[in-house]
Every structure is written in structure tokens, then in C-alpha cells.
Amino acid sequence: MKRILSVMLSSLLASALFAAGPVKLLNVSYDPTRELYQDFNAAFARYWKGKTGVDVTVNQSHGGSGKQARSVIDGLQADIVTLALSYDIDAISEKAKLLPANWQTRLPNNSTPYTSTIIFLVRKGNPKQIKDWNDLVRPGVGVITPNPKTSGGARWSYLAAWGYALRHNNNDEAKSKDFVTRLFKNVPVLDSGARGSTTTFAQRGIGDVLLSWENEAHLGLKEFGADKFEIVYPTESILAEPPVAVVDKYAAKHGTTEVAKAYLDYLYTDEGQEIAARNYYRPRNEKAAAKYASSFPKLTLFTIDQVFGGWQKAQKKHFDDGGVFDQIYQAK
């Protein structure tokens, strides 16, 4: 009897192995990571095919980070999320219980395989002479940034401006609020995501400066022409740490947990780090950082924990309904 059972089980196992078809993953990400993950997905597919013999196709979904998190909470069945800030993945964990609360401890560097920051993209020749954050509040300067309520990048930009003001005004909250209020008075259009803001600035010709993810600014330069725009690094900015996570419940449902974990692990490998650096994301890996040092000018970077006490506090105070941003923007 045992023999019969074992033969049956072996047959089942064998047929399951032979029947293994291509694996599909859905990576729900934020706006400016399209190019990064196009490159990375191709590299990972090659790696996975070589390792397991199985084809893997990674579908990408991009949009404002907050909006993307909301989509996953509402049922978009992502195997992986690679969002702009940890708060958005926390929201998926808290509201939809799709992954555990300690998700950020599962991968190195708080599950942030690369970092970035917020810099300025200005028109060629920098006609408004924008060099630092305090230039953004001058009357007549048009500032382009997306809506912090829907865009992760915009939240980083907002906090970078707030942090700059705090650090230059002896941590005076009122002065910082006034500074950011004046900055948003100079924002004529609020897009929902970073890619939309790039369109507003570069293609529609609106504004004098785009507050941009570092990689997005370089991409804009490459795509729209170095003869039209130039990058300005402010004296200081915020250290943005975009996190990544497997969405446990959906990955388990799709039977993709193993490949989804491998996908994120691969971001930390030499090849993954190099792909990040090539796409202007600051790598964690020292080797890649050294190789691409010239792509990332040095500037003072403060962290959200240092200035705001972490994402939860920053979110609640500034971006929740009725928070400081609502007060500022309604006042406008």
C-alpha cells in the first residue's frame, strides 16, 4: 500500500514539476521607477531562468505611491510592492492585513535596497537663479511638485523643504510652516504623481523649477535634452529611503512567494545594486556606490527619523486629512 501511495505521490510531484509554466509577478510601484524595474526585471528573469529553469514575467504597475497603496488595499493583487515610503506599505499592512507589521525587518537596511533624494530641475541657464530651498519661496518663482496627498515623492519634497526651514530657523515650527506655505503659494499645478509633474514642467513648459526625485531629474535631462534643462543640487536635502516588500497574502494565493522573495533579494546583489545605480538610485552596496560616485554629488542629507521622528509622526502631523498640508493648501 505504501509503495502504491509513494508511486502516486511521485507521479503527482513529477507531473507538477513538468507542468510548471511561466511564473507571473505583479510589482506595484511608484511613479518614477518604471525604467529601473524594466532593467531589473529583465536581469532577474535571466537570473531566475538560469537558476530554476522557470520563466518569470514581472508585470509593472506605476502611479503615485499613496494611490498605489490604496489600490492594493482595495484589491489590486500585487505580489510585490516597491513604494516611495514605508508609511504606504505600513498602510497596506494595517488596513488590509496583507503582510505582517514587521515587514520592514525582513530585508537589510529596513527593506530599502537603494536610497534617493530630492533635487531641483531648472530650465537651461537657470534664468531664475535657483540654487537652494530658500530660492523657491521668492515671489514669481513657479515651483512644480505633485500632490503630497497622493505622491510619495511629493511628501519627501515637502519634508525636505520643511526640514531645511527647521534647520535654518533654529527648529522654529512656525517659521517652517510659513516657509512651506510660501513655497506652495508658488505651486501653480498639483499633479497626482512625480511622472505627471515632470510632464507639467518639461513638456507643458510650466514653472521654473521641478522638485524631483534625483533619478527622475537625470531621466528628464536625458529624455528632454541637456540643452533645455539642468540639475541643481541644493545644499541639503532629505534622505529618501523607498522600501520594498512581498505582499504575503497575494503571493501565497498566487503561489509566488518563493520567486517574489528571490526578486527582492536580488535587488541587494551586486547586479541589482548596479542596475539601481545606473538608474540614478543611490546604491547601498559600497562597491556599486564607489563605482558610480560621480553620478551622485555629495550633499548634506538628513533623515526623516532625525527631523520628524519617523514616517508615522510625519504622516499624521502633515499629510493626514486636516493636517498641516491641508491647512497650507486650503489657505492658498
Binding site: 513657479g142 501653480p188 499645478v189 497626482s192 505627471g196 507639467t200 507643458r204 513648459g205 510650466i206 514653472g207
Partner: protein, 460 residues
Amino acid sequence: MLHKKTTSFILLGLAFASGLAQAQPVQATSATSTQQEINQLRQRLDELEQQQKVTARTKELADEAAAEKAKTAASVTADTGGFTIKSNDGDFTLKIGADLQVDNRSFFGAGSGSLTDTTVLRRIRPTFSGTVYHNVDYFFRPDFGLGTTLIYDAYVELKYFSRAKLRVGKFKPPVGLERLQVDDDTTFVERGLPTLLVPQRDIGFQLAGDLVKGRATYAVGIFNGVPDGSLADTAASNHRDYAGRIFLTPFQPDTKNPLHGLGVGIGASGGNVDGQALPNFKTFGQNSFLTFASGVTEAGHRTRLQPQLYYYLGGFGLLSDYSVNEEGLQKGTFRTDVSFRAYNVELSYILTGEKKSFGSPTPKRSFDPKHNAWGAWEVSLRTGRFWADHALYNDGFASPTTAAREAHEWVGGVNWFLNRLVRITADYGKTNFGGGAALAVGGNRTEEKVVTVRFQINFI
């Protein structure tokens, strides 16, 4: 959008005008101040251009947001299929429909004296149906016709597999062909005599599906069990009825085959009954012709068998069914099996070129006299017979002087389909009886002659 060329042209014009204005009275204005003025104008124009771009971009973003919203927004439609609310992905729907039939019956001839001409609300049925999670259908339909309130249909159907759809609730058991036809699609205002011998609605479980690429359908189910032609909301005993039907349309996919519209099948049900009340059987004019004697109940075994067929070719239609029932009847301590039989053959032809089918035709041109459009017209004829065992009288289950053991009907009619939803039908029905009257007056109940005119609107 102000183009660079236009801007330069305006600036040049303004500069020229400004130069002319100042040159005449005083020649002292310096070139510097002119340049300043030009710069100010250029700045002003830049600002205006920015404002214009901002306005255009704001509108573009609003349009994008509206388009995005439309992708997920539910749609509301009102058309010949009723009123429908549908989620953007189609997985969730709610359809609100209605079925209204108003009948006028006029009796005439020798037997009309004791019959009442009347106008009745035959069926008043709002319908709520739809889908949740793409694969789960629901259907709810009460009836307020004839002055009563009844739940006719209330069921949920899991349709994950087209070959095995599970339906649970109250619905038509899979036995009688004409019974399974939608109420608004029957050729005549009342169904034929074999339908008196099949269950109307019952509560239970049914597994049904399509086989052989749609050439065959099957349905099997377990039900509470109801008397012939009846419906009920509770079981009369611990026993259950088992019902099943298989129906073949072997030439279905080949529309060029003249037998394409042929369907043949058989429905059956069986089960034990234990003291269930018996129904009255009614004529085409909706008068009882067979009422069982007081104290007679159904007891023992009840089997129903119904061979059935239809055939449609162009505007021509044929539908026929034959019911064969064996039912245990009990009066006091005496019980015996009694057989009931009925057949029905109906023919119809659509005069206006539409195709006849198991459903209602859609007129090629909806009724619109101003544009010489008259809807679809159909003529129809049917004959049928119902008869029960002599045991009905011999064993005292019914009185030969009041209950007819036999009924033979002829019905002819005209259907006018004004459009897909509205129909007017005029049927003439004549029924002769065997039994049902005292021997002194011949022993047979006087024939019934009735003209029924129905006005019907339905959208489901």
C-alpha cells in the same frame, strides 16, 4: 497658446508704438527706459503665457482624473433589457425589471351563464436580478397578481462551471417544457393542459449545465415536492421530490440545417408524498374543472414523466408535450394509484417575417403607425387533452356530477408584438369535458368558450 513669433511681433509693435508716442513731444527719452519697458512687457507676457499654460494643464489633469474615475465608475443603463446598474468590470450587476399582464376574459355560449366575465391583473411581477463576483447570479421575483402576494422565484446560482451550475432556492423544477418557458414568451395566454400536471415552483437544489458544445442541456435536482401545477414555501412532509430533465438540440450550431430548431427531451420527477393536499385543475378560462372530493389527499408515490419537443423553422413553430403521471390518492383509509395524462400540440406562424423561437420574437419594425410600421404579427392554434383514470370516480376521489375527468381544448389566437416589450394577445378557447355534470343533463359539463385578451409589458 502664444507662440514665440506672435510674442515677438506684439513686443515689436508695442515698442514701435511706444517709440512713436514718445518721439514726437519730447526726444529726451533714453534707450534704457525703452528697453526697461520692453523687458516689463516681456515679463508680463511670460506671466500671461504661464497662466494660460497652467489653465490648460489644470483642465488636462481634470480630464485625466475624470477618465480615470470613469474607468472604475459603475454604469447605469435603461434599455429593452430593463434598468441595470453595473460595476465597471461587470462583475457586479443589479437589474430591475417588471412583468405586467392584464387579462380580460369574456365567456359566451351555453355554459357562460355561471361564468363571470372579468378583467384581472394576471401577473404583476417586479424582478430584481443580477450578478455578484462575476460568477454568482441571483434572481428574486414576487407576484402581486390576482390579489395575492407570493414569492415566485428567489434563488442564487453559482455559475463557475457552465457544465455544472448550482442553483439553490425557489424556482421552476426541471420537468415541464412549457412550464420552463418564460411566462411572457408562451404563445398563448395560458399554458396547455400537460402543464397542469407538472410542478410550478418548488424550493430545492439543482445542478444544471450545457453538454456537447451546447447541443444538450441537463438539470437534476432535489426539491421539497409540490402538488401538480402548484408552488409552496414549505415541505408538506419529510419526503423529497427528485427531478431531472435532459433536452437535446442536436442540430443547434448549424443554422443552415432545416432541423436546426429541433429540440427533444424528457423531464421527470418522482418522490413519496404523505397526505399532501391536492390542487384544482383549471381550464383555459381559469375555471376549475376537476376538484377532488373533500378529504382526498395525495399519499404514497408520485411520478411524473414528460416527453417534450419543439421545432422552429423560420416563422413556423411547433411545441408539444405529453404528461404521464401516476399518483397515489387516499380517502380515509383507502389508497390507490391513479393515472393522469395530458397532451398538447401547438402550432404558430409569424406573418411578418420574424423568426419563431422558444423566446418572444423581436419585431423587425416596432409599432409606429406614423411611419407605417406595425410590429410583428403571429397566428396560432393548439389542441390538447387531459384525462384521468376511471378510478377517480369509481373510488370516490371526485364526484362525476361536479368534477370533469376529461377536458379537450382547442385554442386559436393572434399575437401582436408592438415592440420587444409590449404584446397584445387575443385567444379564443373552447373546452369540452367528459364528466362533471348530472346524468340528467347528459353527464358532461357544458363546454367553455372564452375569449381572452391580454395586454402585456415585460422587461427582465
